[in-house]
């Protein structure tokens, strides 16, 4: 599934200010610090994966980006200018579209109705024809295969629904698109379909922020991998250069963790000891912590 490295588009304007930049973002819920001092840059034509264990703050970060939970502290810059992500509408106006994990589709409505929900084309009455034509165009641009747009969304597969949700977020002409666990609960073929879609978003010059649990998917499409651990930045990796072990080490906070022990055990027969030292933050690992997190 993973595309050759040579074909990957490099960020177009690596020199200019990033499309979206988070600087020192913190978010507190009462006494709980969900995010502390997060930095993140997203450039045009770049896929940034955000990984982290359960409770690392990934979902909170998505909500900050979507404008659902405004940050407690820190600066958000779009094109180098400071902005406030105070509400979902504000985030959308600034060109940040978010596809939540639950997709938020109306299953009783057809694909076209879902795509245009809340933004129907209508001089007076609804212009179904124009909406359907635009839907087909959009889905074709994304090379997405949906047999029919007049069926209720309930009859679509998980991957097709994800496609509809992503296509819908594109109707607002966003510049950054945030995908929350786009491949969770999808089958192999459907996951590939969605990953293709993510690559096409990058080709269109969008900045893509992809939250994921799945290391394989992350390495398949991401340019950079940002690791969150306990609400803090815990390293940033080049998705191609870094090994999975390095990233896992940053996620769990230890080079000696459940994952590495397991793979070491499995490859012990081959005498190939793994357990590459973690890039950053490997030292602050407390073995007791990781166990707790796994139980979520």
């Amino acid at each position: 599934m993973s595309a050759p490295v040579a074909e990957r588009a490099t960020p177009a304007d690596a020199a200019g200010p990033p499309l979206l930049s988070l600087q020192g973002i913190s978010k507190n819920f009462g006494a709980v610090a969900a995010l502390t001092d997060i930095d993140l840059d997203v450039r045009a034509g770049e896929v940034v994966a955000i990984v982290g264990d359960n409770g690392a703050g990934k979902s909170t970060l998505v909500k900050v980006l979507a404008g659902v939970h405004p940050a407690t502290q820190g600066r958000v810059l779009v094109d180098g200018e400071e902005v406030t992500l105070g509400s979902p509408v504000a985030a959308q106006r600034l060109g940040i579209a978010t596809v939540f994990q639950d997709l938020a589709l109306c299953e009783n409505l057809d694909v076209t109705a879902n795509l245009f929900l809340g933004h129907e084309i209508r001089p007076f009455a609804l212009d179904d024809v124009a909406m359907e034509v635009r839907s087909w165009e959009l889905l074709k641009e994304l090379s997405a295969r949906l047999p029919q747009l007049t069926l209720p969304v309930a009859s679509l597969s998980g991957g097709q629904r994800q496609t509809v949700a992503i296509a819908r977020s594109l109707l607002g002409d966003p510049r950054v698109i945030v995908l929350d666990e786009p491949t969770a609960a999808l089958g192999v073929a459907q996951t590939a379909e969605v990953l293709n879609l993510v690559e096409r978003l990058r080709e269109r010059g969008l900045g893509v922020v992809m939250i994921s649990h799945n290391m394989e998917d992350v390495r398949a499409v991401a340019d950079r991998v940002a690791v969150l651990r306990l609400g803090r930045n815990n390293g940033e990796f080049d998705a191609q250069a870094a090994s999975s072990e390095e990233i896992v080490a940053a996620i769990t906070g230890a080079s000696d963790n459940v994952v590495s022990r397991r793979s070491a055990r499995r490859s012990a027969a081959a005498g190939d000891a793994t357990g590459t030292p973690g890039a950053t933050g490997a030292a602050d690992a407390a073995p007791t912590l990781e166990k707790k997190e796994e139980e979520h």
Partner: protein
């Protein structure tokens, strides 16, 4: 048998929405249309099939039991009698579409009737004022329900159950201790509900207008789809459908015309149904009603003002209930203590559900109220003709309601199984 010929690949470009070769072509003949809706029904998308089948069965049974049932006289009465509760059922469609319920429509219609009669007869105010007061009452009640629902989060079931009792009290209070307030027999309201018929030539014109309107709308739609490169039903199919509608309507007009004719009140009801159908299917607001009923959270995230949609649905429901109450009083030429009580509530809800509106929200059309009330009123009329008292009527209607809801639930399960839920 001819020799095995390979079908040549289609030379004409496929329509934009039919590029996937697995798809069936849009209906070209009437049979295609019928087949398509039968296929949808098997998938759990029942549409109007069960209710039309129900009407056929009910009419056949009652006609066999009492040959007066399908007489022109009785059907004219039926056309009159179904309007008040039909109007209330139309309101129920609104709340069911957003996934809520209003159990107080009967009481609200009773209050509305009492208020109208009091203002008109006891206070001797002009008709406009009486009607305005009734409709305003409906609007205010619905708005209040909406506020309580949105702000306090009380389930609509409970709000309207409280309303059911409270408004029954209000109705008795407004009537000021009188059992009934009679309306003047030659007043416009009573004439509208008992005496006014569409003149025969005009009735035929209306039938032609309806069929022609359907053809014009669907043909222009097909043309626009074709121009945009989308698939469209063939002209032959559309013409056949409209001609069929014309034949049915002309037959209805001529049959009712054998005695008294087509009541204006029924035409009024159908007009309201058509307007509501337009609002629900062709406007962005109507789309948002279905969206809220399907997934309120998704609708909220799409930027739809969900609270406003809920409030509007409650307001439409109570207002149509108020209109239904006024019509009921007009039909009876009196507003009394029992207007809107007894089985009015459940008949209205049953009509909407029998017509195909899902209790689970987001599914159904305005025509459901029309079709459903035909079933309910036919049962009521048939049992009355058999000289069976209301005890039987309640029992039969109860069973029919249960059947309709069971059908809805089974269809929902079937939709889930075939991936359409």
């Amino acid at each position: 048998m001819a020799q095995d010929t390979v079908v040549p690949p289609e030379s004409t470009p496929r329509a934009l929405d039919r590029e996937d070769e697995r798809l069936a072509a849009p209906p070209q003949t009437l049979m295609d249309g019928v087949r398509a809706s039968l296929a949808r029904a098997r998938g759990g998308d029942l549409g109007v099939i069960p209710v039309v089948a129900g009407i056929v069965v009910i009419w056949t049974v009652f006609q066999v039991l009492n040959p007066v049932f399908l007489s022109s006289t009785n059907l004219v009465n039926l056309a009159f009698d179904m309007v008040p509760v039909g109007m209330i059922a139309l309101g129920i469609v609104w709340v069911l579409l957003v996934g809520q319920i209003d159990l107080s429509v009967g009481s609200v219609s009773g209050v509305s009737a009492a208020l109208m009669a009091t203002v008109l007869v006891l206070d001797e105010q002009p008709l406009v004022l009486a009607l305005g007061a009734s409709i305003l009452l409906g609007v205010v009640v619905g708005w209040a329900y909406g506020q309580i629902f949105n702000r306090a989060g009380v389930p609509s079931f409970v709000i309207s159950l409280a309303g059911l009792l409270a408004f029954l009290g209000v109705q008795l209070w407004i009537l000021r201790g009188q059992n009934a307030i009679n309306l003047e027999y030659d007043s416009a309201l009573v004439s509208f509900a008992q005496l006014w018929f569409v003149p025969a030539p005009l009735a035929y014109v209306l039938a032609v207008l309806a069929a022609g309107g359907l053809l014009a709308v669907s043909a222009s739609r097909a043309r626009r789809r074709h121009a945009a490169g989308l698939s469209a039903p063939s002209m032959r199919y559309l013409v056949t459908r409209s001609v069929l509608l014309l034949v049915v309507l002309a037959f209805v007009v001529s049959y009712l015309g054998r005695t008294r004719g087509l009541p204006w009140m029924f035409v009024f009801f159908v007009g309201v149904v058509l307007v509501m159908h337009y609002v629900l299917t062709r406007t962005a607001f109507g789309r948002s009603v279905y969206a809220v009923g399907g997934n309120a959270e998704a609708a909220r995230r799409a930027g739809i003002n969900v609270r406003r949609v809920y409030t509007t649905a409650f307001v439409m429901c109570s207002t149509l209930a108020a209109v239904g109450g006024v019509l009921a009083a007009s039909r009876l030429a009196a507003a009394n203590q029992s207007t809107g009580t007894a089985d009015v509530n459940l008949n209205a809800i049953a009509a909407a559900v029998i017509g195909g509106v899902s209790l689970f929200g987001g599914r159904g059309t305005a025509f459901a109220a029309l079709l459903g009330i035909v079933v309910i009123q036919s049962i009521s009329s048939g049992l009355t003709l058999l000289n069976l008292d209301s005890s039987y009527r309640f029992m039969v209607t109860g069973v029919v309601l249960l059947l309709a809801v069971a059908l809805d639930s089974v269809a929902r399960r079937s939709r889930m199984a075939s991936g359409r839920a």
